[in-house]
Amino acid sequence: MADLDLHLEAIAAGDPDAFARWVVGAEPRVRASLSSFAAQVDTEAVVQETLLRMWQVAPRVKTDGKGDSLLRLAIRSARNLAIDHLRRARTRPTEIEAIERREWVDPAPPDPLLRRLIHACLEKLPGKPRAAITARLTASGARPDVVLCDEVGMTLNTFLVNVRRARLAVAKCLEAGGAKLPEVPR
């Protein structure tokens, strides 16, 4: 995988587009580093909080020649943040140590076929599932489902049923086209 430090100078200078390019490569790896925390910590909140912090600290990060300096800091920060959550939830120290010791697998780069097939798979969806998943994709995490379902004229329950149908159908369509979705080792 390419050294993500290639974006560091521009990020440190305050370029959000460079940070976006860094996030594309960093996010799946930060998330993977939190896999052992998944049953105790909402890792989505930790990933987002970590990425926001990396934007703030990037101007002070020094590269050490080993590559991926900001990514390595992000992984350390994410895991420390997850441990803080465990401590606040009064998790026993022995349990925290056991979670912390579990190793994680760095994810493979995304299958290029996903990008080639995704739009055709989305277009094949029937009306309601397509409307629901499009609302999720367009909202980009900025609005909760209770708002999105209103926007597409569905009850929350119908909206969730349709998002789920859409996600399963898209995954099936991608796999039928030979694309590989990432798998999470159990």
């Binding site: 976006a20 998330r31 890792t43 989505e44 909140a45 926001l52 995490g141 900025a142 969730l160 049923v161």
Partner: protein, 73 residues
């Protein structure tokens, strides 16, 4: 759709409430047991890959949410 699936589907989305000390867990995530939360993690990994593939810049909903906060600041 079971109650468990409904909670999982809500928690898979990237939106998270913001508190005074940063982002908080999704309310639906807190209502899940350990198996349900592991399922959320596994499904989130796949959902983000789909979102990133559909996005012109390759950003998932997580990345888009973070960049929106940065650009708004």
């Amino acid at each position: 759709m079971t109650d468990q699936e409904r909670l999982i589907e809500q928690a898979v989305m990237a939106w998270r409430p913001r508190g005074s000390d940063g982002l908080r867990g999704h309310p639906a995530w807190h209502d899940l047991d350990a198996d349900g939360r592991r399922q959320v993690y596994a499904e989130t990994v796949q959902a983000r890959a789909i979102e990133a593939a559909a996005d012109p810049e390759g950003l998932s909903a997580t990345g888009r949410a973070v960049l929106a906060r940065i650009r708004r600041a």
